[in-house]
Amino acid sequence: MAITKPAPPAADERAGPPPADHEGPRLNSPLALTLLLILLVLAQGPIRQALSAPVMQSWMTVFVAVMVQALPFLVLGVLLSAAIAVFVPPSFFARALPKRPALAVPVAGAAGVVLPGCECASVPVAGALVRRGVTPAAALTFLLSAPAINPIVLTATAVAFPNDPEMVLARLVASLLVACAMGWLWQRLGRADWLRPPARSSYDGQGRGAAFWGSVRHDVMHAGGFLVVGAMAAATLKAVVPEEWLSAAADNPVVSVLALAVLAVLLSICSEADAFVAASLSQFSLTARLAFLVVGPMVDLKLFAMQAGTFGRGFALRFAPATFVLAVAVSVLTGAVLL
């Protein structure tokens, strides 16, 4: 390509070494963004018309609702993760957690109590912990336990099940068990190369402010993009699949547990609200609803998308199914003992 005129921005874009660049001929992205936004504004009449069917409206409402509800928690998690990455030295975690990974796992699981948020907040925090040198088994345990056992979620569960207070205990016990078991399982069987090495350049050598805001920007753009994927999937399910299918599943005890576990994955409801939905699924047994509450905060569509974005697809494809199986099994056992 012959560039006769010296055009500073374009030259700047193309000055980078070609091997590092897989995107081929690239549109300058601020320009692309501007064009896209102008196009959307110009075409908003026809687009609105296409979106006026009830299915599409319901889809859009649920999609926007999941995003608006999750973004504040994502931002909270991203701020925490940036603070860990910039202000907490790695030596702190080395001192705070037991040396032996087998002991670090339950400590990390119990530490999940202190992160008052839903699962969107825990993914970036767990990513920051791994980058800060925390053993992955412990960080993953924290990832699973934090959204399920924090006080806000347990209080919501107690409010949603006023006649079954044992549900709160069952949820706490089952979620902690699954989180720790996954941590130990990762320690035994997990391989370091399944976890994508932190794709981001380290922030050493920059000022603290630059490092902090760089981390915030990176995490919001990254996890936020995957959050959109998950929100679209959840909205599609909510708007398209009829609920009557569920009633058919409620009669058989085995099918009902599996059906609610799968529903928890597909619906991707925030862990602070899932107890209320579980309470309304009154045609199902308490054990089936416990499975819904244990699986939901650990494996769901938006969480899967975000895990794939943070730790790599190879990791998410192995981790999520294993968590699902374990969560269902532990829920059934806990349900048999406690409920």
Binding site: Q69, R217, M221, F276
Partner: protein, 241 residues
């Protein structure tokens, strides 16, 4: 996506959250209690956008040629998807969930903890959820012989049975569930789904089962109905406390 484009997306995202939080727009999607977090996160996103522009400008000033390559890592293309919620929130602003979702989802009526005392005389103005709870679980004990006013939006099932519905919400619209009350008696001849009505009527012992989840649907014997404005918060949030 380059740093400038990222800053623009972050800024727009923050601005649209602030816009939703400062108007009543957010009430279509999430509960009232989320507002402070919504506004705070909007401010953080805008701050992140400004910080990105500022540090980028400083880096360019320090090393004009290599500012972009120095970091090497570009955000994945999935970040572009963040434009979608922006577009949906600013340009389309979809309405609160209505009759379409209400008919696809089973009634979520729960047994109330207790029943507040009602004023001894005059017409009773009850929330739809309150009426349904008293009618089903208290067998209308406090309702008999009273004139009752209830507001909600209209939904018509396949057979044409009219329902008055409120969506109840715990966190966001993804978990919103309907509470339905069937209408019988002097129903207006033309009913448009999703219009808000205030219905005046009396308690009737008639009940039906929701075909979706076999939940109980009480009925109201209608004597008059008048269109009303949709409430500021389209969802019933009494279960949040």
């Amino acid at each position: 996506m380059s740093r400038q484009a990222q800053a623009a997306v972050l800024f727009l995202l923050g601005a649209s959250l602030l816009h939703a939080g400062f108007t009543d727009l957010y009430l279509r999607y999430v509960k009232v209690g989320l507002r402070p977090m919504l506004l705070a996160s909007g401010v953080v996103l805008i701050a992140a956008a400004l910080a990105t522009v500022w540090y980028e400008w400083r880096a360019r000033k320090a090393a004009p040629r290599h500012a972009e390559d120095g970091h090497g890592h570009r955000e994945p293309r999935v970040s572009w998807l963040l434009v979608l919620p922006l577009f949906a929130l600013i340009l389309v602003a979809p309405p609160a969930l209505g009759s379409y979702s209400a008919l696809r989802t089973g009634t979520a009526l729960q047994q109330p903890y207790g029943y507040a005392d009602l004023p001894p005389e005059g017409a009773l103005r009850l929330s739809l959820v309150d009426y349904a709870g008293r009618a089903v679980y208290d067998h209308g004990r406090t309702l008999k012989g009273r004139q009752i006013k209830v507001a909600g939006f209209v939904a018509l099932d396949k057979a044409g049975t009219p329902y008055l519905v409120r969506m109840a919400l715990n966190c966001c619209a993804a978990d919103a569930q309907p509470v339905k009350v069937g209408l019988t008696g002097r129903i207006p001849p033309v009913l448009q789904p999703d219009t808000w009505l205030e219905v005046t009527g009396t308690y009737t012992a008639r009940q039906a089962e929701d075909p979706v989840n076999n939940g109980p649907i009480p009925f109201l014997q209608v004597s008059a109905a008048a269109p009303v404005r949709a409430p500021q918060d389209p969802y019933d949030e009494t279960w949040n406390n």
